[in-house]
Point group: none
Chain length 207, copies 4
DNA sequence: TATGAATGAGTGTTCATTCAT
DNA sequence: AATGAATGAACACTCATTCAT
């Protein structure tokens, strides 16, 4: 794969072009949500967007680039809300807000969220996504806030690991809930919270 | 899809045939572990097994049947160990053992385990796999053992939901650990245990 | 089979596309005439048309759809001439003209005509071809014209049966003549006429 | 194809072998009648015969050889009855008997008869079947019997052509009747007779 | 710039035929 | 001789990608 095969081919300059790119990304989301990975092909996306494959390839050099752009778009949307959670003063409040966000986002478009989680994990994308999702970094930062377990505050590697664990738990539980068709955000958030705060309440392992 | 499209086409009679079937399944596991879903195609599997596609189709009526057989094989391996865990007297011991098993199994062939988890979720397979993975049922049974949270003992739907949550947490954390390349089973098991027992320690939500 | 699996996938919009579709149909005819059903495969047809398989599948959703389109094309050609025959005033003239047409058409591309007759009979196609070939209906209509045997005029089921018989005789004789490599249309038409009019001259069976 | 690829590989010597060959041929007939050309494959035939593919290939060097043997077997069966018809004194009686036989045979196993007619026409078989089916020769001989049209008695080529025509008419009509599912042998035979004797009643063409 | 027609390597699957047991 | 496991060329069909218009 060419090194640039994953990056948007050119920044859209004209307003129309911006619109086309948006339409393509939204179409990609719709197709993925409705038809799953199986129905997710460039022709279907272009058709859904009311554009032609040719246009798709004007803006995305490959199917993977489109997928990646979609992943980034969804992460970005999520990230804005995350920043607000980040601003909360205590660890507990921040985490609770983050859990709430995660549950809410997942139940909105469960298929999409789950499939993007999967795609994100593909080796081709790991590099392009930076060496860790910012979700993990945000979580790690929250674990430095007042009220966080003391054994994590000072031990950065351990804090990162805990952040990874929490991210994995949250993702696992939200994905499963979405797949099961759960609709009650509050109940789901409560249960995830149980796992998260329960995990943090346990003292570190003594070797 | 024909109703029998997922079931083994014929039982191997001769010793040679048994060997071929085994080789095919093992090759499928190897290919999946090494090349991912992308490289998982019938020709590749047959080649890796030192057999021909024709042989593959003698025993598996479709690619999906092969995948399903692999899923079942891995579940079976795991299930034997699970039965032992199930026999432990208290909820805590049983769960701890299950967590240990899960971590161990995942770190052996992380890619394979993760991809099979994914495949397992495909709608085509749900029916063939019984009405839920037995992992979930085993977990639910463990939550009825002595020492389990009292609020779960009597409330079956809630217990099932908790089992789903625990399964999702465990799966999420093991998958992530596998992807990260973690190798220390004990540490991983300890952290998963933290999440599991932490989750169970939290009282039920008051509506 | 999907309900639309036999219908043209999309109407060609550009001039180039129309040309491709025509080339594919003509290539299908050529391959069928030259190599028989055995050599009639999608790759061969595409190659002969100077196109790629992909193009074939842009316009025909399946091999059967291509075959059906070819059947319809040949029927359409024939049908135009049939309408003229239909317009003749007497039963004798109309039938004679029809026999003439049949002989002429068959000797032009004997293999093609015979194989398409065979394909036409396949159950998958019966539905898509309407509830009977119009050849049969045209024949039946001719048997209602002035000069037709009186015992058929009033008895519709019997007339339809006679039409079936005549169609079968004509088809059988033309097929055989084509296979033998006959080239004299007039002689063939005369002999078929003998069978047709001879058949009609015989009084109905007394039970 | 090797020159001997169509001939029975070896004459079965032992009684058991004779039985196997018969079973294979009968199985071939059953499969062809029940599942059509589509289901007619060597494994299916062997299974139906309670034998293995290997055994099939012991006696028939190729699938075509099996098909050919089946064609010959059916022709032979038919031929014995034909000899009796041949013995009748007048042309009319002989032909009537032949028509009757044809109708009867066709309606017994319509699918089989029709498909074998088709196979018979395949170029690969033409050579192996002698330069004309004996059906044609028998018909020609009948047209030399007392009561036959005088213009055919003396003109051998013309008589052969008439025999071809009659064969084609009969085959065409019986095939169609079988396909339609007709069951009344007498009515069918009467109508074929009409065509046959009608055809013969027409004077030769004056050029 | 946008379109959509064209491409063709790649994938799942079948089945006539061979050959070790 | 009989078995049935193994083979692999062949075929229908898909879809990411290119490019003439």
């Amino acid at each position: 794969m060419s090194p640039s095969a994953l990056h948007v081919r050119k920044a859209p300059r004209q307003r129309r072009a911006v619109h086309t790119v948006d339409a393509l990304l939204e179409a990609a989301a719709l197709v993925l949500e409705a038809d799953g990975l199986e129905g997710f092909n460039t022709n279907a996306v272009a058709r859904r967007a009311g554009a032609s494959v040719g246009s798709l390839y004007q803006y995305f050099p490959s199917k993977d680039a489109l997928t990646l752009a979609l992943v980034l778009r969804e992460k970005r949307k999520f990230h804005e809300a995350l920043v607000a959670a980040q601003a909360l003063p205590t660890c507990r409040e921040a985490l609770a807000s983050l859990v709430d966000l995660s549950a809410r986002q997942q139940l909105t478009r469960p298929n999409l969220a789950r499939l993007l989680d999967q795609e994100e994990a593909r080796p081709e994308f790991r590099a392009a996504l930076g060496d860790g999702s910012n979700f993990r970094l945000v979580l790690s930062a929250m674990l430095s806030k007042p009220g966080a377990p003391t054994h994590l505050c000072d031990d950065e590697p351990r804090r990162h690991l805990a952040a990874d664990d929490l991210a994995a738990m949250i993702r696992g539980m939200t994905d499963a809930a979405g797949e099961r068709g759960e609709r009650d955000v509050y109940d789901l958030a409560y249960r995830i919270g149980a796992a998260v705060f329960g995990y943090l309440a346990v003292p570190p392992r003594q070797m």
